[in-house]
């Protein structure tokens, strides 16, 4: 098994903050939403970052690997073409579904954690892996509802997925926080259950509470509780990379730099 790639601290590249991302000090890597890119028309900002040697990791949001339908090969081919254009060391998507019964949810939906769903997910992930030029990392999503069908904990489900597909993990500690708040996931049990040696990198993001529910908005500051979970994860394994996601309601460059500094501070703790 290959050693995980050292990535460092990064931020999600978005067109709205392209200059900010270029200017921010100490951005070791970035991530881009693969569906928003075309391999033959890469934004100038990403070319610049690549010229500087900054890894750019494509992040998929529409493979629907947890969906009941076989994986859409065109979507996988798109992700592969973007990965090749960026010379990316790995790509990612989510443990979720976004399409069912002819409808598009428009957002990442949790899959029922059943043995049926695991079999289907494993088959879809293997089909995607066969068409991808680089390793695939899969991310835990934030759930606002619980499937009554669940037979496994989220940690057990992800552990089985890794065991059967040899995929990497992209662990989002903000999603873990959201699930602890909203659907009673036990973060310690989750971190104990997943194979942390397969960790590719970590997501950190902000959110807010509304009506007693925590919403993973990527449009608010990162909560101290989310950094606590990063700390908890780091007490078990040195994460190869940690990436801040901000998708809306963009703050000043200074505030983003402070959020990156807060992540660095957690990683530097003894």
């Amino acid at each position: 098994m290959s050693r995980p790639l050292r990535l460092g601290v990064g931020i999600g590249w978005r067109p709205e903050i392209d200059l900010t991302v270029e200017r921010l000090p100490g951005v070791d890597f970035v991530e881009v939403v693969a569906e928003n890119l075309r391999a033959d028309q890469l934004p100038e900002s990403l070319r610049l970052l690549r010229e500087r040697g900054v890894p750019v990791l494509p992040h998929g949001v529409t493979l629907s690997l947890g969906g009941a339908e076989p994986v859409d090969r065109q979507r996988v081919a798109h992700l592969a073409s973007v990965a090749q254009a960026l010379d990316a060391p790995l790509v990612s998507d989510h443990v979720c579904f976004v399409r069912a019964g002819g409808l598009d949810s428009g957002h990442l939906m949790p899959v029922p954690r059943t043995r049926d769903a695991l079999d289907v997910l494993v088959a879809n992930v293997r089909a995607a892996q066969a068409e991808l030029p680089v390793p695939l990392a899969l991310e835990n999503v934030a759930a606002l509802l619980e499937w009554p069908d669940n037979e496994l904990t989220e940690g057990q489900f992800l552990a089985s997925l890794v065991e059967r597909t040899d995929c990497r993990l992209l662990i989002d500690v903000a999603n873990l926080y959201a699930n602890a708040r909203n659907v009673r996931t036990d973060p310690a049990e989750f971190l104990d259950a997943i194979p942390l040696e397969r960790l590719a990198y970590v997501h950190v993001a902000g959110g807010h509470e509304h009506g007693g529910v925590y919403h993973d908005t990527h449009a608010h500051p990162v909560l101290p509780e989310v950094l606590d979970l990063l700390r908890e994860l780091r007490s078990r394994v040195e994460p190869p990379g940690v990436l801040l996601e901000r998708d809306d309601n963009y703050p000043t460059d200074t505030e983003l730099a402070e959020e990156l500094a807060a992540i660095r501070a957690v990683l530097a703790e003894r």
Binding site: F97, V111, D119, L144, P148, D149, G211
Partner: protein
Amino acid sequence: MTEPQRDRLAARQAELLRALLAGGEPPQGFDPAQLRVEANALLAKRRSVAAMLAPEVADALGQRFRPLFDEYAAAHPRAVDSGARADAAAFAEWTMARGELPAPADKSRRWWQLRRS
């Protein structure tokens, strides 16, 4: 072979999305409060994407944007072959058909294309 698993999963996932997006019956066993929260979150996400892709339409509608979009979305759940851009465009057409927005003077242009002129 994963056919039986796929069939069972397909039925459950379709039932859930119909309930969340298309006014379908709540699937058995789910917490009704969680279904409401999820349905509202998906609607809010779709609305914010439409506002981002066609800000002229959202700006022109002002306070009416949100109730009109929510009414449109309830009647037109997004089909798998319809992208977010097509959704924003369809909403603009829908508002014009209802007389909520004037049709653009230049018939060859659409509301959501004005920004790119």
